[in-house]
Amino acid sequence: MSMSFKHIVVLLAFSMTSHMMFSQQKERTSSYYDVLGEMGVSFALPLAYGQNFLSEAYTTDIGFSLRGMVRVDKNWLLGANFGYFGAEVSKVEQVGNMDNTSILHLHALVAHSFLKVESNLGVRSGIGPGYAKYQHRLDRARFKDTAFSLLAFIEVSYRLGKTVGLLLNFEHYWDFLAIDSAPSQNNFFRRTQIFSPSIGLKFYIL
């Protein structure tokens, strides 16, 4: 039984395709096995800017950011981000008297890794929608302002060992608050921008 040229070509093509698919599968299995996900915790120094109540009538305190992400593809991750920082009123006239204010953010995230996820040096960028809560305390009363929020971040990490690494994180929040105020103050109270650089540790889930 002699094979025609056509049969040889089909066989070769099948062989090459199978080999490529097997290699890819092997690579994927190995990548998934190496890093399944990651968690980062970092201390943040948030800076509010723009013409809004947070930048003009508050001083922001140190805070922290907690991020967990799961790898869903070669260079793509999904996760969530929690951010917290405190703030003190510096101009009572503009916002009212509060004993203290805590600002919490919770976001869902999609992130892209520009380098191999398992490489020592990691560069990631991500974005996601979320919720912000500005919790105020005045004497024994607690009340809040809430917001729809967007988060974008760029993160540079360096893996020190199999499961631990260092993290340098630049986050940016856009908060769209639901505060009802005098018409002349609507722009002042309804949107804040916060740039939050942070440094911390990253833990890799293998």
Binding site: Q94, G96, D139, F143, D180, A182, Q185
Partner: protein, 242 residues
């Protein structure tokens, strides 16, 4: 019965016993301060408070309910600008209570000793327009040391009982009762027989009018009179001859 008791117990427990504030809401208070010549008064402190009386629950102590307790919070603070106007943002009180403000408070570091303090009571009685309370313009009058000199030239055997009614150095404007804001200070004095004059020193507002009421007594009331007296604007003296 057991259910009803539980509900009552729960209601007592959750009864708010302090001021609370609306989420996602701010109010704005606007106003202006001038001197008696209608010139703007800059750098005057304005402090805004919320206040209310609340039931203090005392569980397990019959009859369960405690007394009413007052809760007052400083909710906003500001100063007048070069045009004499102020805008103060405050959180919006949720529970029943009053919003009041003190202009030129004695406790403030910007307190102007020689000018009156004004209590603006029940600001929330004004109807807010788009979350803005617009207050009328207030005059910050000067406080002076005034003297009343009463003399008599005849009837030395009479006793004169006199009463001076004059504006206090701290003013109150109650927005829930705008007509009835004429509180005044009272001073009583007696001019005995053989005394020809009396001097009374008191603090009042510059250029204010005092009301003198007196009775001349000599084996019964001989004369009873009430007069309004204006001050000598240079010496702040009120003089009257009986």
């Amino acid at each position: 019965m057991k259910y009803a008791f539980s509900v009552v117990l729960l209601m007592i427990t959750i009864t708010s016993c302090h001021l609370d504030y609306e989420d996602n809401q701010r109010l704005l208070i606007r106003g202006a301060v001038s001197d008696v010549e209608n010139a703007p008064f800059a750098d005057v402190s304005v402090e805004v408070y919320a206040s209310g009386n609340f039931l203090a629950p005392r569980l397990f102590i019959p009859p369960f309910f405690g007394s009413l307790k007052n809760d007052t919070d400083l909710i906003g603070r500001g100063t007048t600008n070069n045009r004499g106007s102020f805008e103060i943002t405050i959180p919006s009180p949720e529970t029943f209570g009053v919003i009041f403000a003190i202009v030129n408070d004695e406790e403030s570091s910007l307190y102007k000793q020689d000018h009156t303090s004004i209590l603006l009571n029940e600001i929330n009685a004004i109807e807010p327009n788009s979350l803005v309370y617009t207050l009328p313009k207030f005059e910050l009058q000067k406080i002076v040391n005034a003297t009343f000199i009463g003399t008599r030239s005849e009837n030395n055997s009479d006793t004169i009982e006199l009463r001076l009614q004059y504006p206090p150095i701290q003013k109150m404007i109650d927005f829930s009762n705008i007509e009835g804001n004429s509180e005044s200070e009272l001073l009583f004095e007696k001019l005995l027989p053989e005394e020809n004059s009396t001097n009374i020193v008191f603090k009042t507002l510059q250029h204010s009018v005092v009301i003198l009421s007196y009775k001349r007594i000599n084996k019964g009331i001989v004369e009873e009179k009430e007069v309004e007296i204006s001050a000598n604007s240079n010496t702040n003296r009120y003089e009257y001859e009986f």
